[in-house]
């Protein structure tokens, strides 16, 4: 199970990459995509949406189940990955390349407070 050391994580299985411009890119972890199985539909957040930390902003649906995706930190959604609308299976193929949305965090310091790779690994018992 891949857990890149360069990313931050949430206990609800989102991965978070802090970009040079202070924005964050968010997706779901390899562990999460494996649990959910074949992805068939992704409901992306609306650009401009303000979200509190841990607020539900998106939904990924596999054949098996629907799963809520949460804002890892408070902020505003700045971009949604529309490429996934026609190809949700990309999340299964490479969970860390198939990002779901980008946010401008209210405070970059909040990102530091997320789990690191070792913390996420112990969270999922890996």
């Amino acid at each position: 199970m891949s857990i890149p050391a360069t990313l931050k994580y949430t206990p609800s299985h989102e991965w978070v990459r802090l970009e040079a411009d202070g924005s964050i890119t968010v997706g779901i972890t390899d562990h999460a995509q494996a649990l959910l199985g074949d992805m068939v539909f992704i409901e992306l957040p609306t650009v401009g949406k303000s979200a509190a930390a841990e607020e539900q902003v998106a939904v990924v649906e596999s054949v098996k189940a629907a799963s809520d995706i949460y804002a890892p930190v408070a902020g505003v959604v700045t971009e949604a990955n529309q490429n996934l609308a026609d190809a949700p299976e990309r999340v299964n193929e490479d969970a860390y390349a198939a990002w779901l949305f980008k946010m401008q965090p209210a405070s970059v310091a909040d990102v530091d407070g997320l789990l690191d790779a070792a913390g996420y690994a112990s969270e999922i018992g890996a």
Binding site: G37, V40, F41, E43, E61, V63, K64
Partner: protein
């Protein structure tokens, strides 16, 4: 404590993700349930269905017992090996289980019941036998395993793995079974494709599984089994019907035989209560996935989705839904998914049979 079938090790070896299904640890998929689904529609796949329970009903009282126990009439079975689908009802007309009856002779039938309902079914049957006092025995055959081989090339692959069965089963018609030595080869299934369900002593099951693998048959899990049966318009017990639902409201009216003077458990209730809903198909006209228990809004009142999924064959979400009687196929209805309503078209199931999209 979950139970395991004799093929548990074979599943792990094939990379299965195991899940609890009705008290049994069963494969959900072996990597991709969508690829497994397509394998069955286009070529061939196999399922371990050893968790299902075969029950032999043997003795001169077998036929009158089953005629009184089941909503369908086993008197319709005249040719040896013929199979019949039926509901087993409670006195208020709710479905205790749905099952297949195989007829061997008038003093020997075999029924195959759902895994999760097997203990309940056996207790119910034993109690009815005690009450009615027929001269017969009820014998669960837990020492038998079952492998379903399904798909357009399933029979050919099965014969490659079991050459001794080819002659006896080459002319076997759909919904018939034939015994071959210790095996029972039935041309039945739960996918809407051609194929066999092979019942055999559990000790032979791992070797047959291996031989089928070598013949190029792809192992398929419960995930693909569910999308295949839903596309084929087949009910799943516990989802599309249960003890609180009449078979008439669950799209099983075709398997209920109310003719003549034959009395069976639940018949009076069915006649008194009549039919109040229809089980029809839905195809979602927008992006999204239909799921069980989602509300359906129609021009004729409310309905509910009993089984929903994403159909790998249609590349659209499909569902079975219990809808008001006045709803007709071709109508557009709305389904509540989370906080929004989505348009869906009402269709008559099945959605897919023998690899062809029918809606």
């Amino acid at each position: 404590m979950t139970r395991r079938t004799v093929l548990y090790d074979a599943h792990l070896q094939a990379g299965a993700r195991m899940v609890d299904f009705g008290g049994w640890e069963m494969p959900l998929h072996y990597g991709s349930q969508i690829e497994e689904h397509h394998a069955v529609r286009r070529d061939c796949g196999m399922f371990d269905v050893s968790h299902m329970c075969a029950v032999d009903i043997i003795g001169p009282g077998a036929r009158p017992f089953l005629q009184r126990l089941l909503a369908n009439d086993v008197a319709r079975l005249a040719q040896p090996g013929k199979a019949l689908y039926s509901a087993m009802l409670n006195p208020s007309g709710g479905v205790i289980d749905d099952l297949i009856v195989y007829f061997f002779d008038s003093a020997h039938y075999r029924i195959v019941v759902n895994a999760a309902a097997a203990d309940k079914d056996l207790a119910w049957m034993a109690a009815r036998l005690a009450e009615w006092g027929m001269d017969m025995t009820i014998t669960p055959r837990r020492e038998l395993g079952m492998i379903a081989v399904q798909g357009p090339s399933a029979r050919e692959r099965a014969w490659q793995a079991l050459p001794q069965c080819r002659a006896a089963s080459a002319e076997l018609q759909p919904f018939f079974a034939v015994p071959v030595d210790d095996l029972l080869v039935a041309r039945t299934g739960y996918t809407g494709e051609d194929g066999f369900e092979i019942t055999l002593p559990t000790q032979y099951a791992p070797a047959l599984w291996q031989a089928l693998l070598e013949a190029g048959v792809r192992p398929c899990g419960l995930g693909a089994r569910d999308t295949l049966r839903l596309e084929a318009g087949m009910n799943l017990y516990g989802q599309d019907m249960d003890e609180s639902v009449s078979p008439l409201d669950a799209g099983m009216g075709w398997s209920v035989n109310l003719d003549g003077t034959r009395d069976f458990v639940g018949k009076t209730a069915l006649i008194e209560n009549g039919q109040h809903s229809r089980l029809l198909g839905l195809v979602l006209l927008e992006r999204g996935v239909l799921r069980t228990q989602q509300n359906v809004i129609t021009a004729h009142g409310a309905g509910i989705i009993t089984s929903g999924t994403f159909s790998p064959s249609l590349q659209q979400a499909i569902a079975l839904a219990r809808l008001p009687m006045a709803v007709a196929t071709g109508e557009t209805v709305e389904v509540e998914i989370r906080d929004r309503r989505h348009a869906a078209r009402v269709v008559r199931p099945p959605f897919v049979r023998h690899g062809k999209i029918l809606v």
